[in-house]
Amino acid sequence: MNDLAYDKPLPEPSAVSRPYWDALREHRLVLQCCRQCHTVRHYPRPVCDRCYSMDYEWIPASGRGTVHSWSTYHHPFHFAFKRDMPYVVLTVDLEEGVRLQAPLRGADASALRLGAPVEVVFEDATDEITLPAFRLL
């Protein structure tokens, strides 16, 4: 894929989030988990807000979750999304207890309700960056 052709905003992985983005590039969803109290946290950050441990590991996530909320975007606030309008962006409760925001593929908002089961899919944006998306189960 030609990186120059990709004109949407891209994440700039930080030292703490790099393994998350590296795993997505391999089409795996991983989450940060405290080694001391085993609380899963997202988005990646240095300290566990439950026990304050800075010791953590990356665990595989199931990729399954349920719809917490959503919005259908109609107005492109960034020019590169104009060609996608309208599209749905979901807020999803992952099985591991944290949330993920990503677009819904293959359906529109008429199919949605709170709690609807979804599954993550992977979309390669560039050679370096893969972004998550969802499809209804």
């Binding site: 107005h75 960034h78 962006v89």
Partner: protein, 382 residues
């Protein structure tokens, strides 16, 4: 020690509010500041504290340079976006109550398109670091998109409708038409609201605030000094700020329908020693209609989920039980990041609001709301 009634709003000032301007943020801010100081009956050289807007293009030292302040002895910023102005009331009250200053100037100017569109500004702000990494790549780049999932969940859980959000927009528009310094003078019906194009479902165009140019300022004085100022002193009875859980991303917030104001409001009411029934008028930060509804719930004017019904039937209109945004708010007067709300509440409590006056207004409240859910509240009384 309580901050209750230790400080007063003694001066208010505003520029004309417009869509665009050729004037700098700094010029507009100085114009509003000089107006507020004159309104207090003070000389600029009486100002010994300044709390400028963190994103306002001016710093405290600019007031020494331009006004020749002989002894600026207190300065601070309250970087909470749209919650900054009301949070600055807390900061200024603390400064005068603690003997650090006599008269503190709070000011905020916006140069509209000349200082950049909202989406450009957001990408540069440190509080959006997590959003920039994890949500902007999904196309979530603007406040309407940040808050749409809050409104959608509220609708799904409680049956809140777009028409109920529209009631808020239509009411504030009617109020704006009574104000000669309000940008939106054209009437708006509920049908107009429903016909306005969808931006980020469920938020329509008329659920979204304006972008404006202009500035507003207020002077906060120590209570004993306020009695010598030109107008009836307006006391800061109670004031508080509150930060939501997961402040840097709504997506990860345990309850996405609960914002920082829920933590701040009980503290402000307790400090002021008043109840909800005592509030004669409320100026509520209205970047989006849903955010007004959410704040009414989180302040306890109704239970969570009842906001939609609460705003119906004229309750929040002039003449209703709780008149809200008597100046038209950010939705229909101008987006001066809530400094215009403090100015309006002060006018109401001085009984200077003309056709918009809430009869015999004695006690009122003003709120601020900053991305992505910071809250601030002040309860003022005459």
């Amino acid at each position: 020690m309580s901050l209750r009634d230790q400080a007063c709003v003694t001066g208010i000032g505003e520029t004309r509010y417009t869509r665009e301007t050729t004037r700098s943020q700094a010029e507009l801010t100085f114009e509003a500041s000089l107006a507020a100081i004159a309104d207090a009956g003070l000389d600029p050289k009486d100002i010994d504290g300044v709390v400028p807007y963190a994103m306002g293009g001016v710093i405290a030292e600019d007031f020494v340079t331009n006004f020749g302040l002989p002894d600026l002895r207190y300065s601070a910023v309250t970087p909470m976006g749209g919650a900054s102005s009301v949070a600055a009331l807390q900061n200024a009250a603390l400064a005068v109550a603690g003997g650090l200053a006599n008269h503190v100037l709070i000011c905020l100017g916006r140069g509209a398109l000349s200082t950049g569109r909202i989406t450009d500004r957001i990408g540069m702000m440190p509080q959006f670091r997590l959003v920039a990494e994890h949500e902007m790549p999904m196309g979530t780049v603007a406040p309407a998109q940040f808050y749409a999932p809050m409104a959608r969940r509220h609708m799904e859980l409680y049956g809140t409708t777009s028409e109920q959000l529209g009631e808020i927009a239509v009411t504030f528009r009617r109020h704006a038409q009574l104000h000669d310094n309000a940008m939106m003078q054209k009437p708006m019906t509920l049908a107009d609201h429903q016909a306005s194009r969808m931006i980020a479902d469920p938020l329509r165009l008329y659920d979204c605030c304006l972008e404006s140019a202009g500035a507003a300022a207020v002077v906060i004085s120590r209570a004993d000094l306020a009695r010598d100022c030109r107008h009836t002193p307006v006391y800061i009875g109670g004031v508080a700020e509150g930060h939501p859980d997961s402040p840097s991303t709504i997506t990860q917030r345990p309850d996405i329908c609960r914002i920082g104001l829920a933590k701040a409001a009980p503290k402000a009411f307790a400090m002021a020693g008043v109840t909800h029934a005592d509030i004669d008028v409320a100026e509520i930060y209205d970047c989006f209609t849903y955010i007004v509804l959410c704040q009414l719930e989180d302040m306890g004017f109704c239970a969570k989920g009842e906001g939609g019904q609460f705003v119906q039937g004229g309750r929040i209109a002039l003449g209703g039980e709780l008149p809200v945004n008597t100046h038209g708010g950010l939705l229909s007067q101008a987006h001066i990041a809530g400094m215009n709300h403090i100015v309006e509440l002060t006018r109401q409590l001085r009984h200077q609001a003309g056709a918009r006056q809430v009869p015999d207004a004695e006690v009122g409240l003003v709120t601020g709301y900053g991305d992505l859910g910071d809250g601030s509240i002040a309860i003022l009384h005459r």
